[in-house]
């Protein structure tokens, strides 16, 4: 096999394995992997924002949680059709990002980090207090299972739900991948590398920063609806600081800017937290900390730094 084809072959193989999962594992494991996929979409969106666009946000739990609440509320009161919830949640996430991003993306560096953190905390507080809508600290329980199309049967099988979430997450990540490779993606990298130079070329740099913030918000909202579809329960914890921090951790472990690295990072984060943590008596965060330190030392560019292709020689 030529080395140039290897990444494509690896990607194809990974897709086959992902598609076969429900046939190979128990329902509990399939449920966990469903959560991995939802979290991966959140992380890939954040990687487009932070890794490609140079805007590290510590508040991505806000659009994620808003998406989850949107999907759950729709499920309880309006429609159980999954794709409708998905689109509505993405729109809600994008709407939140559009509302707060108008001001946020004008800040830089640590200020941006702190302001996104503040917005995340405010939205969290709101979910806690606005009991009439969010159920307050009790959260929204009893969310009905989704249906795949109007009038369809409720999806109760973990494997079928997994396939739905896999398809949705792949579509979302695929859209983000297209954006990252486009001329707009190149604009984002330019703004990340050297904003002043971009202005001197005639770019009004607010626009790409604002646009990518909204796109990442939409991805987070969509991820929230996928999360809610599996958990069938949403609480303020879903938009807490921990979710934001873990998403950013996934991006760092995965390697900034590659998108697929962030998906792998998300898998590590969720698996360590859910599969390993109970066996360690709840010391999952400690393991995550060690993984983080190890990743920074051993893989300074994250998983994305592992070359599938030999580096091309410089002519």
């Amino acid at each position: 096999m030529s080395t140039a084809r290897r990444p494509r072959a690896v990607a194809g193989g990974a897709l086959v394995v992902l598609a076969l999962v429900p046939l190979l594992v128990s329902a509990n494991v399939a449920d966990m992997l469903t959560r991995v996929l939802a979290f991966a979409l959140l992380a890939v969106g954040l990687d487009l924002l932070a890794g490609v666009g140079g805007l590290p946000s510590l508040g991505q739990a806000a659009p994620f949680g808003v998406g989850a609440y949107t999907a759950a509320l729709l499920g309880k009161h309006v429609t159980t059709v999954g794709p409708v919830q998905l689109v509505a949640a993405a729109a809600a996430g994008a709407g939140l990002a559009a509302a707060v991003g108008w001001l946020l993306v004008r800040s830089r560096g640590t200020y941006f980090l702190m302001l996104t953190l503040a917005v995340g905390e405010i939205v969290h507080e709101l979910a806690d207090r606005w009991e009439g809508v969010t159920g307050g600290t009790n959260g929204l329980a009893g969310v009905p299972p989704i249906t795949l199309y109007p009038g369809g049967a409720p999806v109760r099988l973990a494997g079928v739900l997994y396939w739905y979430v896999l398809a949705a997450a792949l579509a979302g990540a695929g859209a983000l991948w297209v954006v990252s490779r486009s001329a707009f993606g190149r604009t984002l990298r330019g703004v990340r590398d050297n904003e002043e130079r971009m202005r001197s070329l005639g770019y009004r740099t607010f626009l790409p920063r604002y646009a990518v913030f909204c796109i990442a918000g939409a991805a987070a909202g969509a991820a929230g609806s996928l999360w809610a579809a599996q958990a069938r329960f949403v609480s303020p914890a879903d938009l807490g600081f921990e979710v934001s921090a873990l998403a950013l951790l996934a991006v760092v472990i995965g390697g900034r800017g590659s998108l697929w690295g962030a998906a792998l990072g998300a898998a590590v984060v969720v698996l360590v937290r859910e599969a390993l943590s109970p066996q360690l008596g709840g010391r999952g965060p400690l393991v995550l900390g060690l993984v983080f330190v190890a990743a920074v030392y051993l893989l300074p560019r994250g998983f994305a730094g592992i070359r599938l292709r030999r580096p091309r020689s410089i002519a």
Binding site: S182, A183, F184, R186, R189, D193, R197, S200, L201, I314
Partner: protein
């Protein structure tokens, strides 16, 4: 003929320090106009005011028939001002080709195009390659910009600035840190630009200036000391004194040298 760029009474103060003091400058279309002056003369301040990265305390700037004094830097760039930076200012994680393509895709209005892969915009890539040929970097298109030598970075800097097809190219000490051979090649490159591009060059190296310029303005202590053809300026006594340090010494020891 109306000038392409005209400043009137351009002033910039930092507190009580006057960096630029009522500078009126007129750059004719098609000119190779050099601004020279000793350190601290206000050259870089003038450059920043013209390109829009600084706001003037007083005075107006007209460019291409319009008052651009209140316009931000990106709007001036879109109106046709291209600039290079004193210290090579590139997109270091991108390839040489992508660096230039950022300029050509903006010029083509594709900076926010999200669907097609960046490489599939053939016109953008071709225009970028043309600029690389022009500055002699075509063979390095796939190299990361971070791997270029100092001289190559300066070439790329010019290619990026030219790739927006500017009416006015502003060069801020472009030959700083260049070898003599590189400087000569650079001067050749600038003189090879067609008359459609007007050049305003801020320069330390007088060799380069007198080889290139059709008009020279001398700044000294924030004011215009002389303005004329290279020969006139060379013959000017006050200019000679400013450069030989005579006037500078006077400034040190007398209250008001002027």
């Amino acid at each position: 003929m109306t000038p392409l760029l005209e400043t009137t009474g351009l002033t910039r103060r930092y507190g009580s320090l006057v960096a630029l003091d009522g500078v009126s400058l007129s750059v004719a279309a098609g000119a190779r106009h050099a601004v020279i002056g000793p350190n601290g003369a206000g050259k870089s301040t003038l450059f920043a005011l013209v390109t829009g990265s600084l706001r003037p305390t007083a005075g107006r700037i007209r460019f291409d028939g319009e008052d651009v004094t209140g316009r931000p830097d990106h709007a001036r760039a879109r109106a046709g001002m291209g600039k290079t930076f004193q210290h090579a200012s590139l997109f270091t994680s991108l390839t040489v080709l992508d660096n230039v393509a950022l300029a050509t895709q903006r010029a083509a209005g594709l900076g926010m195009a999200m669907l097609r892969p960046a490489g599939r915009h053939a016109a953008v890539a071709e225009a970028a390659m043309r600029q690389l040929w022009l500055v002699g970097l075509a063979g390095r298109a796939a190299t990361p910009a971070a791997a270029l030598s100092h001289g190559e970075r300066r070439q790329l800097e010019v290619a990026v600035a030219l790739a927006t097809s500017p009416k006015l190219l502003l060069l801020d000490e472009p030959t700083a840190g260049m070898s003599a051979a590189d400087s000569a090649r650079f001067a050749e490159l600038v003189s090879s630009l067609g008359p459609a591009v007007t050049v305003l060059i801020i320069e330390h190296d007088l060799d380069v200036v007198f080889r290139l310029a059709t008009r020279v303005t001398v700044l000294h202590l924030g004011r215009v000391l002389a303005d004329g053809t290279p020969d006139e300026v060379r013959a000017d006594e006050t200019v000679q004194r400013a450069y030989l340090g005579d006037a500078a010494l006077d400034d040190l020891f007398t209250e008001d040298a002027r």
